[in-house]
Amino acid sequence: MIDLIHTYWLYFLVGQYPNGPLGGLALTVLLAALALVLALPIGLLLGLARVSPFRAVRWPVTALVHVVRGIPLLMVIFWAYFFLPGVTGHQTGQFSTMLMALVVFDGVYLAEIVRAGIQGVPRGQFEAARALGLGYPRAMQRVILPQALRSMLPSLVNQFISTIKETSLGYIIGLTEASFIAAQINTQVFTRATQVYLLLGLTYFVLCFGLSRIAHLLERRLARRAPVRAARPSAAVPLANESNA
C-alpha cells in the first residue's frame, strides 16, 4: 500500500495539473467549496421565499423544492449536462456542469436549513423589531437573519461535508475528481483494487470526519454562547435536512 501512495500521491492529489486541468482531491475540495459559496445566496432567497407571507411566492418555491428533492442528484447532473448549454448559450465544461448541478441541488437543501434557522429565532425578536418601526425586509436583514445564520453554522458545515461527498458523482460525467482518479489508478495497477479503494475511502473519511468534528465544536460553542433560547417548535419536518449523497 505504501508504494501505491508513493507512486500516485501527486496524481491523486492534483490530477494532471499543471500539464492539464486541475483534478483529484484538490478539485473535489475546490468544487465543493465553490458550490457551497454560490448555493448560499440561492438558499437564502429560496428559504426566505419559503417563509414568505405571500402565497404567490411560497407555493412555486415549495413546488420547486419538492421536485428537486424528489429526484436524485445524478438526474440533476444529467439534465444540466445535456441542456445547460442551450439555456445559457454558453459552452459548459464538466466542471461548470457539476458546479451548476450542485448549486441548484444544494441551494434547495440550504433553503430548508435557512427556513429552519429563521423559524428557530424566537418570534419575540421579530415582533420587537416590528414594534420598533422596522419594516419586514429590514427586520429580516438587521435582526432575524444575523441570529439565524449564526445558529445555522453547524448545519452549513454539515452541508459542506455532504457537498464534498456529492462531488464524487462527477465520476459519472468524466470529471477528474478524486474517485475518478482513483479508478484510473486502479486500472493501471490491476491487482490492487482493494487497496486503492480502501485508500480512497480513507481519504474521504479523513476529510469529512475532520470537518464534522469542526461542526461539532461549532455546535458546542454556540450552545455555550446562548444557553437560553426559546426555540420555536417548528413544524415537524418530514423531509430530511440534508441529502446523504
Binding site: Q16, N19, P85, G86, V87, T92, Y171, Q184, N186, Q188
Partner: protein
C-alpha cells in the same frame, strides 16, 4: 441546419434555440479564438492516453489532431471525454473536433459529420481461456462486459442475440471486471483489446482474443454538422499526412512492431470518408 439543441416543451428553450442558431462559421471562430478544442478519450491506448511520466495526453489521434491544429495555425487544447459523452459534447459546442476513437457509422451520420477515415479496426472479444469459449457464438447466454455509450454494446448484441451485457463508465472498468471474473468476455475495438491484452504481461497466457470480428469499425474524426470549411481543412491535412508518408509513420510509431500491438503494417490508407 444545426442540430445543437433538443427542443423541450417550454417556449423558453425554443427561444434560446432561435437565439443560438445565428452564428458564424466555426473555422473562423477557431481562428479568432487562437485555439481548437479537441475531444479525446485519454483512456484508449494508443489512440489517446495519459503518459504516466509526463502526465500529458499522447497518442495516434493526438498527433493527428496536433497536425490539424498546426495547419489551421492555432493551439490545440485537449479535453478528456467519457465514451458516452463524445457526441453530445461535440453537438453542444463544448469541443470543436472529436479525436476519440469514434466509429463512423450510418446511425451517427445524422448527428455528426466525419472526416476521412483515420483508422480501420474491428471489434473483438477478449476472454479467459478457462471459460472454454473459443469463438463468438459460444457467448450466447453468457455475460460480457464493455463500456457504456459506444458501438460495442449494440454490436455484440447483434452478433450474439441472447448475450447478457453489463456496461461500465470506462473501458478500463470493464477490463478490470473481466480480470476479476465478473463476466466471460470483454468487448472493445481490436487495437484497444490487443493493447489491454499486451498490458497483462505474464498473465497473457490465461487469456485469448476470439478470432472473429464482431464488426468493422472505421474510425474517423468527428465534426459538427454543417461546417464545410472546417471539414475541408481537416480532410486536406489528412490527405497531406497520407501523401507525405507521415500518416504511415504515425501508424508505425503507435501501432508498429516496436509497440505493444506489434502490427506489421497498415491494412488501410487515409483517403476516403465513405463507409
Amino acid at each position: 441546419m444545426r442540430n445543437r439543441l433538443r427542443p423541450l416543451l417550454a417556449a423558453f428553450f425554443a427561444a434560446a434555440a432561435l437565439v443560438s442558431t445565428a452564428h458564424a462559421d466555426q473555422l473562423d471562430d477557431i481562428r479568432k479564438k487562437g485555439e481548437i478544442v479537441i475531444g479525446v478519450l485519454g483512456t484508449d491506448e494508443p489512440n489517446s492516453f495519459v503518459d504516466p511520466a509526463s502526465r500529458e495526453i499522447v497518442g495516434y489521434e493526438v498527433d493527428i489532431a496536433k497536425a490539424i491544429a498546426k495547419k489551421i495555425g492555432v493551439k490545440p487544447v485537449f479535453k478528456q471525454l467519457a465514451v458516452a459523452a463524445r457526441i453530445p459534447e461535440l453537438q453542444q459546442g463544448r469541443v470543436d473536433v472529436l479525436a476519440a476513437s469514434l466509429t463512423h457509422n450510418k446511425e451517427r451520420e445524422s448527428q455528426v459529420d466525419f472526416s476521412l477515415t483515420t483508422f480501420v479496426t474491428g471489434q473483438k472479444v477478449l476472454v479467459k481461456k478457462s471459460s472454454g469459449i473459443t469463438d463468438v457464438p459460444q457467448l450466447a447466454g453468457k455475460k460480457v462486459l464493455t463500456v457504456k455509450g459506444g458501438t460495442q454494446e449494440p454490436n455484440i448484441r447483434k452478433a450474439v442475440p441472447n448475450v447478457d451485457v453489463v456496461t461500465f463508465e470506462t473501458t478500463q472498468q470493464a477490463f478490470l471486471a473481466l480480470q476479476q471474473g465478473k463476466g466471460v468476455g470483454y468487448v472493445n475495438d481490436e487495437a484497444s483489446v490487443v493493447n489491454d491484452f499486451a498490458k497483462l504481461g505474464p498473465a497473457k497466457k490465461d487469456y485469448t482474443i476470439l478470432p472473429t470480428n464482431i464488426s468493422t469499425e472505421p474510425l474517423a474524426l468527428g465534426l459538427r454538422k454543417g461546417e464545410p470549411a472546417l471539414k475541408a481543412v481537416v480532410d486536406s491535412t489528412l490527405r497531406e499526412l497520407e501523401s507525405s508518408g507521415e500518416a504511415n509513420k504515425l501508424f508505425i510509431k503507435w501501432y508498429g512492431p516496436a509497440t505493444k500491438l506489434q502490427f506489421d503494417k497498415r491494412s488501410f490508407k487515409i483517403d476516403s470518408d465513405k463507409i
